[in-house]
């Protein structure tokens, strides 16, 4: 997923969009050089030393990796996926919500508003 996420972050850097990770590696010190290699520049919460059993993934009932939640500009959960839905579907959903965030009054037109 990392290459596509990198391009998402780049493409939407001037838009009301943020990619926030919840990292579930238990040993951060060992992993940090790898993150640099993969150019994972976006911000992540750390799930703690318990790794995949950490408090955030437990609170969010995460049962597989990756799990994705898409939250709109008002803080509402709009989509969730266990595993990536595929680059195109992901982009489409994000763009629809970004259009809503930029023009809340036009939200009724969603679907059309999201198309490029």
């Amino acid at each position: 997923m990392f290459p596509h996420e990198r391009s998402l972050v780049n493409k939407l850097k001037d838009e009301p969009f943020a990619l926030i990770g919840v990292n579930s590696d238990s040993d951060l010190t060992a992993m940090k050089p790898k993150f640099k290699e993969e150019q994972i520049t976006w911000r992540s919460f750390w799930n703690g030393e318990e790794g995949t059993q950490g408090p955030i993934s437990r609170a969010w009932n995460v049962r597989g990796w990756p799990t994705l939640y898409l939250v709109d500009h008002t803080g509402k959960i709009r989509q969730k996926w266990l595993g990536s839905p595929g680059d195109e579907a992901l982009d489409r959903e994000i763009e629809t919500l970004v259009a809503e965030a930029k023009n809340p009054a036009g939200a009724k037109l969603k679907g059309k508003a999201g198309a490029e």
Partner: protein, 265 residues
């Protein structure tokens, strides 16, 4: 193509006739031997197919008659292993063989073999510990999905609490997963929450086949149903980032946020 079919025929023709094996007084065959021969046949068939067929043409990975040889071997093991662990293994292996997507379509004969074995397994072993794990993922052919679901439900009548709990968990977790994809009406959500609570009271102390106890699973699942549904407000997250600096999910209010639970491992 013709060459491949001939080889498949040869493989079947060369296997010893069933009658001859019936007379053997010593049976030193085992379920693990059947499994390994089965996969060896799959591998060699697919290697042959690759060699003989034009690229992109899909060949059947195993013929009906090749498969039947493996089913018969398991049947034989079952017949001589009453009361031994191999009895259960032989039945469950026949279910796996007759559900196999490598042989298409499932013939009436192999469907019947699946039915016979499923019926035996879910009757004779209904109180057996092994059923708790087995039922979570038990193989069934496409034509028998409804029957398979019926067998799983039947385990709720087991006298073994772990098996009983597993059967109840299976149907509840399917409902909860479906609710994750398509939000429930308020009435159905209330009903599912009530069923989860009943399940938690009844089986909370039992160890879940997925790890942890069923009490933990019930608690997490009920919470997710109410607080992590599509259309509901995302719960707050407040935790340190990878450099140890605390931040909050709500800091990003006003922006669309993709939350990715990831790990490098």
């Amino acid at each position: 193509m013709k060459h491949w079919l001939f080889l498949a025929w040869l493989a079947v023709a060369a296997s010893p006739p069933l009658q001859a094996r019936e007379d053997d007084s010593v049976n030193d065959d085992s379920v693990s031997a059947v499994k390994s021969d089965y996969f060896a046949t799959l591998r060699s068939n697919s290697a042959k197919a690759k060699k003989d067929l034009p690229a992109g043409v899909q060949a059947p990975s195993m013929s009906e008659s090749e498969l039947q040889v493996f089913i018969d071997r398991c049947q034989k093991i079952y017949d001589v292993s009453a009361g031994e662990p191999a009895e259960f293994d032989a039945l469950s292996q026949i279910l796996a063989l007759t559900s196999d997507p490598y042989v298409k379509p499932t013939s009436e004969k192999s469907l019947q073999a699946w039915r016979d074995c499923a019926s035996k397994l879910f009757t004779d072993f209904i109180d057996d510990d092994r059923m708790a794990t087995f039922v979570m993922n038990f193989p069934s052919p496409a034509k028998a999905k409804a029957e398979a679901a019926g067998y799983a439900t039947k385990l709720i009548r087991s006298n073994n609490v772990a098996v009983k709990a597993a059967a109840a968990y299976l149907s509840l977790s399917q409902r909860a997963d479906a609710a994750g994809d398509t939000p429930l009406t308020p009435e159905l959500e209330t009903k599912l929450l009530a069923d989860l609570a009943t399940f938690g009271q009844q089986f909370g102390m039992v160890d879940s086949v997925q790890g942890g106890t069923y009490a933990e699973w019930t608690k997490n699942t009920s919470y997710a149903l109410v607080n992590l549904k599509v259309g509901g407000m995302a719960p707050e997250i407040e935790a340190p980032d990878l450099d140890g600096v605390k931040f909050k999910l709500s800091d990003y209010r006003g922006k669309v946020v993709l939350i990715d639970f990831w790990g490098y491992w």
